[in-house]
Amino acid sequence: MAIRTPEQTEPAAPPARPERPAPTRTEGRVMNVFSHGFLWLWAFMVVVPVVWVLVASFKTEREIASDPLGLPATPQWENYVNAWNNGNIGDYFLNTVQVMVFSVTGTMLLGAMAAYVIARYSFPGNRVLYFVFAGGMMFPVFLALFPLFKTLQNVGLLNTYPGLILVYIAYSLPFTVFFLTAFFRTLPTGVAEAALIDGAGHYRLFFQVMLPMAKPGLVAITIFNIIGQWNQFLLPLVLLNDPEDAVISQGLANLALRQGYEGDPGALFAGTVMAMVPIFVAYIIFQRQIQAGLTAGAIK
């Protein structure tokens, strides 16, 4: 289930192996230089834009425009003050957290419930239901945007967090159900049967036995959903029109589009850095789980 890295699967080379004449030795060395070169080049290309914007966030407007490769003469901390005060980065953060506390919890709860029943109970329409959920992964969201907009408008949930939360949950269900169904199927049946014999009801079986057993899968898919919903842009763009209510990616986009090249690029980059910092910290701490969670689709 978990992604195994080669370091873990590869035991230390047995020391007693007889040396054999290696025909690949020269080739190996060339390849080694070659592969290292490309790997470092790409690592460099990934790091540079990020670090460069970090440096730019400490520059004056003039330095940003006229000396893109230079360092700031004096670090402009007020860029950060401006981004926080005028750019409302702090508010966007809180908005996003408010939405996600409910949307991620809701996604996991509803997703786990549906997946559990689909995976472990037989009933008419079981397979159809599975495909209806899994098929949702293929739908291009663009197609549903306007009907969705109208649906929320009709019930007064347009431009509200409850509306956005419900939409996040609904659109996160396909992958969540798809993934968790596969996961619940792998859990041993013996434990469940034992619990039922001991007199546990279906509800207790789910909450006290199956959910704890499914923890690795739940963690992986929770990370997947947190990152996905944190970065969501299209749905809030259409369903959340008041700039004051904007979630983080939307708020940054507004900041970027409002400022353009004429505005206050220092504050824009400072805001971008502030939005990256929590993601970066979380990534460094949880990188193994995040990589496993996001590539979870690979395991079927």
Binding site: I3, R4, T5, E10, R17, P18, R20, P23, T24, E27, M31, N32, S35, F38, L39, W42, A43, V46, V53, A56, I64, D67, P68, L69, L110, G111, A114, Y116, V117, F123, V132, F133, F139, P140, V141, F142, L143, A144, L145, F146, P147, T151, A170, V177, F233, L237, I248, L252, A253, A256, P265, T272, M276, I279, A282, Q287, I290, T295, G297, A298
Partner: protein, 307 residues
């Protein structure tokens, strides 16, 4: 097990299925229906006009035709380049190192590379758009590439890469590849790690070089992962819009050179008030996505090798 099974099943399915039907299934079905009308979206007035919207799609040379062309290019280039690079880097990390005493190893620092390469995957497209818009900016506005080119005495496009008709699409695809490669590196890497080392060692004893090891052992055994990656990347390619929105002039310019299907749907639905037309384009997108997935799963349905 029988006792109270159906009430339990119903109670667990009611909420998720209800919500999913209300906010996903019904809106999609409505979009299909709307595509056969002349509804603007703002009034309640509409008539059914059959397939007219679909026919008119292919007459719209301002938005739809360029968008289909550009999305088509992204659909070809993005999966190809990303998968090739992802496989290459994954192979390097797993198999590319020195061979010691006939044993095969990954390069040193593999874990470090994975952490770095994967990082763009956790950044939002809004942030990636802001970063790269500045990287591509014109010389006078502090663009990184323009500044670098000038520093070594090479010319840079006057208005930056994103305002250049011939460079804008390639620039956007570059960013898409930049952000996706790390994911597929990790994705392929975990699949490669499950290929027994003996296979490679046997190959080396038989005198195979790295290229042969890759094409004769790794690639055939990874075929299913490549297929999955192809489907994912195709869906991403069809849904490209946020980067265009964040980075390019007029959100699809200059001169329609970076219009994409998703962006045109959004423009017609929310800017031009032509809801029915937008829906027709969305339906086409839907069927393209469906066809691609089916084709990708059919092509090269290789025999599964158990190991």
């Amino acid at each position: 097990m029988r006792h109270g099974k159906y009430p339990f099943i119903l109670s667990f399915l009611a909420l998720p299925v209800g919500l999913y039907a209300w906010l996903v299934l019904v809106p999609f079905a409505q979009a299909f229906q709307i595509s056969f009308t002349d509804w603007s979206g703002s009034t309640n007035q509409f008539d059914y006009i059959g397939f007219d919207n679909y026919l008119n799609l292919f007459k719209d040379e301002r938005f739809v035709i360029p968008a289909i062309r550009n999305t088509g290019i992204i659909l070809l280039v993005l999966p190809l380049v990303t998968i090739a690079m992802g496989l290459f880097f994954a192979f390097m990390l797993n198999i590319g190192g020195r061979s010691r005493q006939g044993r095969i190893e990954g390069v040193r620092g593999a874990q470090f590379h994975k952490i770095v390469f994967f990082f763009p995957q956790v950044l939002s497209l809004a942030i990636i758009g802001i970063l790269w818009k500045q990287v591509y900016a014109p010389p006078g506005f502090g663009g990184l590439i323009a500044g670098g080119l000038e520093a070594i005495g090479l010319p840079a496009p006057d208005n930056g890469f994103l305002a250049d008709k011939d460079l804008v699409l390639a620039s956007v695809i570059g960013v898409l590849v930049w952000s996706a490669v790390g994911f597929y590196l990790v994705f392929f890497s975990s699949a490669m790690a499950s290929i027994p080392r003996d296979f490679y060692e046997a190959g080396i004893i038989d005198g195979a070089g790295r290229f042969q090891l890759f094409f004769r052992i790794t690639l055939p055994l990874l075929w299913e992962s490549v297929q999955t990656a192809w489907i994912y990347l195709s869906i991403i390619a069809l849904d490209v819009f946020v980067l265009i929105y964040m980075m390019t002039p007029e959100r699809g310019g200059p001169d329609g050179r970076s219009e994409v299907v998703g962006g045109v749907i959004w423009k017609y639905a929310f800017k031009h008030g032509e809801q029915a037309f937008a829906s027709a384009l969305g339906v086409v997108l839907f069927f393209v996505a469906l066809t691609l997935a089916v084709v990708a799963l059919r092509i090269g349905r290789h025999q599964r090798i158990e190991y």
